[in-house]
């Protein structure tokens, strides 16, 4: 049973064909990686999934519902969360508040005039937020300014924010880009843990083969805007087309 269906998606920017007839199906509860060299169209594809870009042709459906022409916040409300290449968090707010926001968004929807409620009275939300910070091992940093966190902590915070929404599908855009090895491994462990405990479908766009092979159950290799192969990591490893794509890319 697939949770996300991408069918015949194409996108042009002027003369450049960024995506050309992309067909990918992400199975529920799977960890699906999309890899490929620079310029393969991975980020464009991701932007088509979250509502930032609208494909020229083709369809994107999430749990049977079309995502085309729907605004990013509506797509998120449907259960799709996104982790950015550089962590996007609320830098001016405290870590604690950063986690509260997605919880409120999850409970109250895209807009609510809760101008006269007090956070302290929202025991339910506070408990969840606290639990989430414990889960990502950041409870001791909850009163820190989010902007003053280390990069690894920012990533974990962003992950916590996405998870606290209990998404059905988590999109990760190069979650370990620019990280040191140790941090990368921590992130991999974190993601594994999440996958094990929460049953979330994940789609990962990644450069780093180490990450892909430690996490993914299915891998799609993209080059020049089209998927080349889709298979299990083990089969991908020695696949001639993949080598060709990467070597050709160099």
């Amino acid at each position: 049973m697939s949770i996300l269906e991408i069918k015949g998606v194409s996108k042009r920017f002027g003369g450049l064909k960024a995506l050309d007839d992309v067909n990918i199906s992400v199975a529920e509860n799977a960890v699906h990686a999309i890899i490929g060299p620079n310029g393969a169209g991975k980020s464009t594809l991701l932007n088509c999934l979250v509502g930032k870009l609208i494909p020229d042709t083709g369809s994107v459906t999430f749990q049977g519902q079309s995502l085309l022409g729907i605004k990013p916040h509506q797509i998120n409300q449907m259960g799709v969360s996104r982790v950015f290449q550089t962590p996007e968090i609320f830098g001016d707010l405290s870590v604690w508040e950063n986690v509260l926001i997605p919880l409120f968004a999850r409970r109250d929807g895209a807009f609510r005039m809760h101008a006269f409620e007090t956070i302290a009275n929202e025991a339910d939300i506070c408990d969840k937020a606290e639990q989430m910070l414990i889960d990502v091992n950041m409870q001791d940093k909850m009163h820190m300014h989010a902007a003053s966190l280390s990069r690894g902590d920012k990533r974990r915070l962003e992950m916590a924010m996405c998870l606290s929404q209990e998404p059905k599908l988590l999109l990760l855009d190069e979650p370990t880009a620019g990280m040191a090895r140790a941090d990368t491994n921590n992130t991999i462990d974190l993601l594994k843990e999440i996958q094990a405990s929460r049953n979330i479908t994940m789609a990962i766009i990644e450069h780093d083969m180490h990450v892909v092979f430690s996490l993914a159950e299915r891998v799609t290799v993209m080059a020049q805007g089209t998927p080349l192969v889709e298979d299990t990591p083990d089969n991908i490893k020695g696949h001639p087309k993949v080598q060709e794509a990467y070597l050709g890319g160099h």
């Binding site: 979250v50 605004k71 990013p72 916040h73 509506q74 998120n76 409300q77 969360s81 996104r82 950015f84 996007e88 968090i89 609320f90 830098g91 001016d92 707010l93 405290s94 508040e97 509260l100 926001i101 997605p102 409120f104 968004a105 999850r106 109250d108 929807g109 895209a110 807009f111 609510r112 005039m113 809760h114 101008a115 006269f116 409620e117 007090t118 956070i119 302290a120 009275n121 929202e122 009163h143 820190m144 300014h145 003053s148 924010m161 929404q165």
Partner: protein
């Protein structure tokens, strides 16, 4: 208590105490002394402190929380004022309908302006709001004269209909009141050489200000307040967290527009007249200055900023050269003249110069406004206290304190 945290209760209590005791605090110098010039505890200025405090608190809800810089907020104040004076002309000199109508009309106008202006952000938003305000000003001054009174503005007249009020006594002028309590009525208390004035209008305005301040604290601490700060911090993340930032900013815009309308209505309630200059762009600029000077995004900052600017406008501008000579009279003549010549350009008619210099100094050295100045002084004391024990650096202070 009151749905506020401990710290906020303390803050609110301090503000409430300061407001209630303002007639004492603002009149520290005995009557007749040379320093009495600096006393600010007379009704008009006290009223202006709290009214512009309300205006700035409201502006801060928009600018301080969401970061949207409106350069046309005076338009809402003006529109509210016009609504209020018309209530007084048509219905009653009781201030309640006037104030309520001011808030409603300003709210409606801000929905219109906000809906259009919020389609853009950054300086484009600022220019859009400026354009609306300038159009309101220009039209109120000229072609809308039949409604606004144009240059000479509107005042209640003996001949106005005032449906709910009985006929005025022969020779009486219409006075703004709260169920018969005249806004101009004052009790005076003399203690020694000091004279303290307790003005009914001031306490009405102060009560409204405290209520507004309380509401502002609630908004700052509410989930809604966090959402507004999220708008300022990272709109992209907000959208990808399933939140629609548009209605949040519009709501903030309308709330702050209503605060401005409330301030405008109160201005009319305290001083029954409206003129179009109230909407000129410099008036909008003034509230921006108040907010930043005091500390944007802080609860108490805008009130301090408003107080400071109004103090300079009303007190410093009244110091003339003769008064200076009185101050320095104890000095030998030559020195006296030199000192007067040195100080004179900065006071009286030179008060704008002082204002400009203060802005520059505050922005250069205290980017967080007066509140940051206060925090630095506090930190200085704390550090002294802690000197010796090897403490970790103080956690970065909460942005909304």
């Amino acid at each position: 208590m009151l749905g506020l945290g401990k710290k906020d209760i303390a803050l609110f209590m301090i503000v409430a105490l300061l407001t209630l005791l303002a007639p004492f605090i603002l009149n520290p110098f005995p009557e007749g002394s040379e320093l009495a010039q600096f006393n600010a505890g007379y009704p008009d200025l006290m009223q202006r402190f709290v009214i512009f405090g309300i205006f700035a608190i409201g502006f801060n809800i928009l600018f301080g929380l969401t970061g949207y810089l409106s350069f046309g907020h005076a338009a809402f104040l003006g529109v509210g004022s016009y609504a209020a004076i018309w209530m007084m002309k048509l219905l009653t000199m009781n201030v309640i309908p006037a104030i309520i109508m001011a808030v409603i009309v300003a709210g409606l106008f801000s929905v219109l302006v906000g809906y259009i202006s919020l389609r853009r952000s950054g300086i484009y938003f600022a220019i859009l709001t400026l354009a609306f305000a300038q159009m309101s000003y220009a039209l109120a001054y000229s072609v809308l004269t039949p409604i606004t009174g144009g240059e000479t503005g509107l005042q209640p007249k003996v001949s106005d209909p005032r449906l709910f009020d009985g006929a005025l006594a022969e020779g009486a002028t219409p006075q703004a009141n709260l169920f018969g309590l005249d806004m101009g009525a004052s009790y005076e208390m003399a203690v020694g050489n000091w004279l303290f004035t307790f003005n009914a209008g001031y306490y009405v305005a102060a009560a409204v200000m405290l209520a507004s301040f309380y509401v502002a604290i609630r908004i700052f601490r509410s989930p809604f307040g966090i959402m507004l700060r999220a708008v300022k911090s990272n709109q992209q993340r907000m959208n990808y967290t399933g939140l629609n930032s548009k209605p949040y900013t519009l709501a903030a815009f309308v709330i702050s527009g209503m605060y401005a309308g409330l301030a405008g209505g109160l201005m009319v309630a305290m001083d029954t007249q409206v003129g179009p200059e109230r909407m000129f762009w410099t008036a909008s600029g003034e509230v921006v200055l108040m907010t930043i000077l005091g500390g944007a995004g802080t609860l108490i900052g805008p009130v301090l900023g408003a107080g400071m600017i109004k103090y300079m406008e009303n007190i410093v501008s009244k110091i003339n050269s003769d008064i200076l000579h009185t101050w320095f009279a104890f000095l030998p003549d030559g020195l006296e003249d030199v000192l007067v010549a040195m100080v004179y350009p900065f006071v009286g008619k030179g008060w704008h110069l002082t204002l400009g210099i203060v802005f520059m100094l505050v922005v250069i050295f205290l980017p967080g406004g007066l509140v940051e100045g206060g925090q630095r002084i506090m930190n200085l004391f704390r550090r002294k206290k802690r000197a010796g024990d090897d403490s970790t650096p103080a956690p970065k202070s909460h942005p909304a304190e």
